[in-house]
């Protein structure tokens, strides 16, 4: 039996060490998961929600020189479509599905967009003007409040590939039957609005298609807006500032409600950081308590003949053991945490279903640095305890 073996045995037999390791593991893993979750959510919103067509559409009101602005926008490579009120959006009746809602008038909003919209069922909405539209996979009528006690959601799958009738809202107004008009537009596919947690009654078509239809129905008197769509949300700042330099003030047409979600994660992040600090303080207190509880054993070891260097060596071994086992504990709790996040949380909190937890290497690095500081501090406490053992060894009798 060597001194090293004894030190290792003592480390693993000390129940307080397990408590310390569990605390380190839990608080470090919690910190990494919470921070990664915030990071993942932000990334998710950035990649999915924020890049959704509606969030990439901007408007400029009353431009001084309309033609000049359109030319300017068309010259910008980040801008993929420029249109006016005709191509923006409007509400329509969808008589084809009214029978499923007790004959109530069911409306849908059709928005004009530039670029392709991917489908989860059927085909993508093409970037070209082709008299087709794409609708949400989870459709809820715009006027759903009119339909009490009925199923609010409707599956549009059977209509994929079929021509659907759309009727402008104005033509169904009382006394306007003489101007009743209906149009046919093919539903090519359904997009995934569940991951967006929004757009339950929004169908999309090419902005030229929409403008073409609307011009047959109505004349917009105050057509003062210019709308444009950019290729990626990442270019928002660049495009807006460039337009600003030219004297145009562009605004996003859609409020971004992601802030609320990210804010709640920020709160969680603060709680995580708070818990992390408190847990680390508890770890330090427990370790100090452990050392001072064993002060007599340290004194005894000196009386029995341990040299200071030997005790220091034991102390280094203990610190290394603590560090290695802290890392193991961290990995175990991290795996448990990821397992819980992936298999348990989405069942109870559906909003987590879409988020792919990305463990950020930066979080690992941060926690690792803190861990090294804690272990170094524990090592210093160890040395202090050795010195106390040295100075007080005569008090053992």
């Amino acid at each position: 039996m060597s001194s090293l073996k004894i030190t290792i045995k003592k480390f693993f037999r000390n129940k307080l060490n397990y408590l310390i390791l569990i605390l380190i593991g839990i608080c470090c893993a919690f910190s990494i998961i919470v921070n990664s979750l915030t990071y993942s959510t932000k990334e998710y919103y950035k990649d999915n929600v924020l890049n959704w067509a509606d969030y990439r559409i901007f408007s400029i009101l009353h431009p001084e020189n309309r033609e000049k602005l359109i030319n300017k926008l068309n010259s910008m490579e980040e801008v993929i479509g420029v249109f006016d009120e005709y191509g923006y959006y409007t509400a329509w009746y969808m008589p084809d599905i009214e029978e499923h809602f007790e004959g109530k008038e069911i409306t849908v909003r059709i928005s004009g967009v530039a670029g392709e919209i991917p489908a989860v069922k059927g085909e993508n909405l093409p970037a070209t003007d082709e008299d087709v539209m794409i609708c949400p996979i989870t459709y809820r009528p715009l006027e759903n409040l009119l339909v009490e006690n009925t199923k609010l959601e409707f599956d549009l799958t059977p209509f994929i590939g079929k021509e659907m009738t759309i009727v402008p809202l104005e033509s169904r107004s009382p006394g306007k039957d003489d101007i009743y008009k209906e149009f046919k537009i093919k539903l090519v596919g359904l997009y995934d609005n569940d991951r967006l947690n929004n757009f339950y009654h929004d169908c999309y078509t090419n902005y030229n298609t929409l403008a073409k239809i609307r011009k047959q129905v109505t004349t917009i008197k105050n057509n003062s807006h210019i709308y444009f769509q950019i290729d990626d949300k990442i270019n928002e700042e660049k495009v807006i500032s460039e337009l600003k330099k030219s004297g145009y003030f562009a605004h996003s047409v859609m409020d971004i409600d992601y802030v609320l979600a990210v804010d709640s994660f920020d709160t969680l992040e603060y709680i995580g950081k708070g818990l992390f600090i408190i847990s680390m303080l508890i770890v330090l207190c427990l370790f100090s308590y452990n050392l001072f509880r064993n002060k007599k054993i340290i004194k005894l070891n000196k009386i029995l003949g341990y040299s200071n260097i030997r005790l220091l060596f034991n102390s280094i071994i203990e610190t290394i053991l603590l560090f290695i086992n802290s890392c193991i504990s961290l990995i175990i709790f991290l795996l448990v945490g990821i397992h819980v996040f992936k298999n348990y949380l989405p069942d109870h909190y559906p909003s987590f279903k879409q988020i792919n937890l990305i463990i950020s290497p930066l979080e690992f690095k941060k926690v690792f640095i803190v861990l090294i500081f804690i272990i170094a501090f524990i090592f210093i406490i160890n040395i202090i305890s050795l010195l106390l053992g040295k100075s007080n060894r005569k008090n053992i009798i």
Binding site: N14, I297, G305
Partner: protein
């Protein structure tokens, strides 16, 4: 060069030993001009009231504390000016300690506690030798069947027996026992005294501080300390 004591057959020799503490500017004399010789194979009992200086005397003989004045010779070697490292080595080789509170390492088994002084001592390099010696010592104190037990699984008497086995681990010539039966019942006390007596008969110098009335029956020589002097 270490100074040599001239007396033969003396294991520990204390020459004009004094120990004082300072409380502020006031000097408190704990031991005053002690001259004592301890021989191997003898059982010494140190008695005295609380605060008389007997524990301080034991600490100084155990090289745990240093005297203010005077000299200590162990095996004819002056140990007054040894370095901390040499003192540690000296304690490990020459002195076995038995404390009132046993001071066993609670995280080690009875067997492992006995091996600690041998592990510190570089002469015991082979595991087999350490094991053999530890088992022999635990057998000597009647605990061969409890080698894997932790201190919390042992009675007070058994813990003290482990402490005695540990004190004998490196076969030291001196055993210093400070109130070894202070926390024990009569039966355990008798066992401990008998073992200490047996050890003295085997050539060890046993120096014990005790308040027990029965201790005197085992001692070869009784030293009474009063107000820092030997009566």
């Amino acid at each position: 060069m270490e100074e040599k004591n001239t007396k033969n057959n003396t294991l520990i020799s204390l020459k004009n030993l004094s120990k004082s503490y300072y409380k502020g500017s006031k000097e408190i004399k704990v031991l005053n001009n002690i001259n004592l010789d301890f021989e191997p194979g003898k059982f010494y009992l140190i008695v005295g009231h609380s605060g008389s200086g007997k524990s301080t005397l034991l600490k100084i003989m155990g090289l745990i504390d240093k005297p203010t004045n005077g000299e200590i010779f162990i095996n004819n070697n002056n140990v007054n000016n040894l370095s901390d490292r040499k003192l540690a080595k000296f304690r490990n080789n020459e002195i076995g300690f038995v404390f009132q509170d046993y001071f066993l390492d609670k995280l080690l088994t009875a067997y492992e506690n006995v091996t600690v002084p041998m592990i510190i001592n570089k002469e015991y390099k082979k595991r087999k030798i350490v094991k053999k010696r530890a088992l022999e010592l635990l057998d000597f104190v009647g605990l061969k069947d409890r080698i894997k037990h932790f201190p919390k699984e042992l009675s007070g008497g058994e813990e003290q027996r482990v402490a005695i086995a540990r004190a004998l681990a490196n076969d030291p010539s001196i055993i210093l026992a400070d109130e070894p039966t202070g926390n024990l019942d009569v039966e355990s006390e008798k066992f401990i005294f008998e073992k200490l007596k047996e050890m003295s008969k085997n050539g060890k110098c046993i120096i014990m501080v005790s308040h027990s009335k029965d201790a005197i029956n085992y001692a070869d020589k009784v030293l009474e300390v009063k107000d820092g002097v030997i009566l």
